[in-house]
Symmetry: C2
Subunit: 338 residues, 2 copies
DNA sequence: ATGTGTTGAGTTACCCGTAACGTTACGTTA
DNA sequence: TAACGTAACGTTACGGGTAACTCAACACAT
């Protein structure tokens, strides 16, 4: 199998025409006879010719059809869905996603950006609003369309699709306060630095302050934000002796874990303790209760990102920021004000 | 931002040397003075030069560092994990994944293969063993490393990593029969044709036959294999009046859905009915019971696939097929023979 | 002073398509 | 019949790097 790739020149020679004529036939550009077309296409089939798009790009000093898509991880089903939404849309318009998993590290992102840019992509979609200075520099310099996902940013590098995480945390805090809660807790994971989750916490904290309540405890676990960290984090929190009335979790996976711990310990939710999650994740949809949470349009984020990207590639002028918003799910896991 | 990309020639001119010298400096090839190196690197920084790797590939008639990775969907957490495993490994060795979501359709795969091949990738990783004839033709013709994932195939196109789905279904059937079950049922989804799940069903059926039992009902829903299809599929099955003693589901998501339905209907598992899943998915790990299932090494599949790919790219001779196997989880949701 | 080797460059050709332009062989019109 | 138009195809140049080769300058041994 050391078949050297068949080139257009070989097809042309076999068909007894020039490269140019063969090229015209393949692009159906016109300016050739039907007989020639038949002959060329026959040779294409016979030799199994596949065009080398690299050369095409090269010839016209264009870009490839690749769009770099960088997300933190795929273990998080939200990002997996966002990616799926993006790719579906891109593929429908003749583009391909080049994957980048940053594992929440900006240095990884920077390295990935450098590599992907060297392959002349049509554009880049990245997660988050914070990047290394060099990454910003490279993105700016490239002159390529860039979409920043997830964290809504009114002053994006180029384009932005996401939601205001601070506001979502604030909404939850205010909602809980409105329903009579005074002593709040938060459980999240912090193996990554400045991210959307910390914005949520900041908003939550602010709402509590504004309402005159107290954030009596915040727990930052060194783990992935899943069911068991939620379970054991809750155990740890309750064992600490602090008398939280309601716990806001980084996401639904953790919240459901917390719920299960409370249930096991004989605590009644919401009578003894309130539980709130974030994200409206699949795990919440299969519980016999309705988890209080924040619903986020994952698929919409991906699709919108891809749409912005595509219209910029097509050269259409477009609004360049899009706040997809969020929705508070009242649920049944916190007490309602009388 | 219509900055034309800075080329090596511009860097060279600015540094007062030839393209070739600049090229040598950048590749640290030697044959230049320290003074020249400093000057060239200064201009690289000043102009923000990023190499155009396309040209390099082009010049040397080489391949890009892209590896095409095609999977059916990302909604399925198994495939998301497999992809993550692949990408981590590939990136560590200087490669990038170009994503392809086939949505279980071979025509999509074929089209994707054609497109990706035209960009001169270093190799392709695809899911499943069945492809369109033209897809097989193109893959063969390319002479590129190809890994077929998921479904173990002793006669792969090139390389293969996966497990024998038929055997896994057979094992489950035999296990259940050994524990005294005689009247079997199966619930799966069939919006896709020949796939790994149907191999599992075939193995299950065969085991039942061999044990002298009866598959009294098999339900193929037109839906994604999730919790609710499992829930309502079970309702439908039980309402049909058939007296199944045990139900084998296409995967754990469906099985847990089935379990919840039984629980709601007051049926005791495993006393009144047996429940078995497949995949050892995350959903099973957060239940208060241990689901009878088949455990599959997802991450290992991805890693192994990437490893095979990388060693083939590096030109190392390698075993080209790898059966990663599976493990039956006895669980607590089926009755044990006395 | 001459020959030889080494260092530090520059020159040329090429990769595979395509844009731009050139060339034939006709047919058509004045 | 000369002048012109057009369909069908060919030729040339180019893009951004790199392999392979050439070349100039200088050091050093003979």
């Amino acid at each position: 199998m050391k078949n050297k790739q068949v080139s257009l020149a070989e097809v042309a020679r076999a068909a007894g025409v020039s490269k140019m004529t063969a090229s015209r036939v393949l692009r159906d550009e016109g300016g050739f006879s039907e007989k020639t077309r038949t002959k060329v296409m026959a040779e294409v089939d016979r030799l199994g010719y596949l065009p080398n798009r690299l050369a095409t790009v090269f010839a016209g000093d264009q870009k490839t059809t690749f769009v770099g898509v960088s997300i933190p991880e795929l273990g998080n089903e939200i990002f997996a869905q966002v990616l799926e939404g993006i790719d579906r849309k891109l593929v429908a318009f003749g583009h391909q996603s080049v994957l980048g998993l940053t594992e929440h590290a900006l240095e990884n992102e920077e390295k990935w950006i450098e590599t992907v840019l060297s392959w002349q992509p049509a554009g880049l979609i990245v997660t988050g609003r914070s990047h290394t200075p060099r990454a910003v520099q490279m993105l700016r310099n490239s002159g390529l369309p860039v979409v920043e996902l997830w964290d809504f940013n009114s002053a994006p590098l180029d384009m932005c699709v996401g939601l205001n995480h601070f506001d979502s945390g604030y909404s939850m805090g205010r909602y809980l306060a409105t329903n009579g809660y005074r002593k709040f807790a938060y459980i999240g994971t912090s193996h990554h630095s400045a991210n959307a989750a910390s914005s949520r916490l900041a908003g939550y904290t602010k709402a509590i302050e504004d309402a005159g309540g107290t954030l009596i405890k915040q727990l930052q676990l060194r783990d992935a934000p899943g069911f068991y960290p939620g379970y054991y984090g809750t155990e740890q929190l309750l064992a600490s002796g602090e008398e939280a009335e309601v716990i806001f979790y980084q996401n639904d996976n953790m919240a459901v874990g917390g719920y299960e711990y409370c249930k096991k310990k004989g605590l009644s939710v919401p009578d003894d303790i309130g539980i709130a999650g974030w994200g409206d994740l699949p795990i919440a949809s299969i519980q016999p209760y309705r988890l209080t949470s924040i619903s986020v349009p994952h698929l919409k984020i991906g699709q919108q990102a891809a749409e912005l990207m595509l219209s910029r590639i097509a050269g259409q002028p477009m609004v360049s920021t899009k706040d997809v918003g969020f929705r508070l799910i009242p649920g049944t896991t916190v007490q309602k004000a009388p």
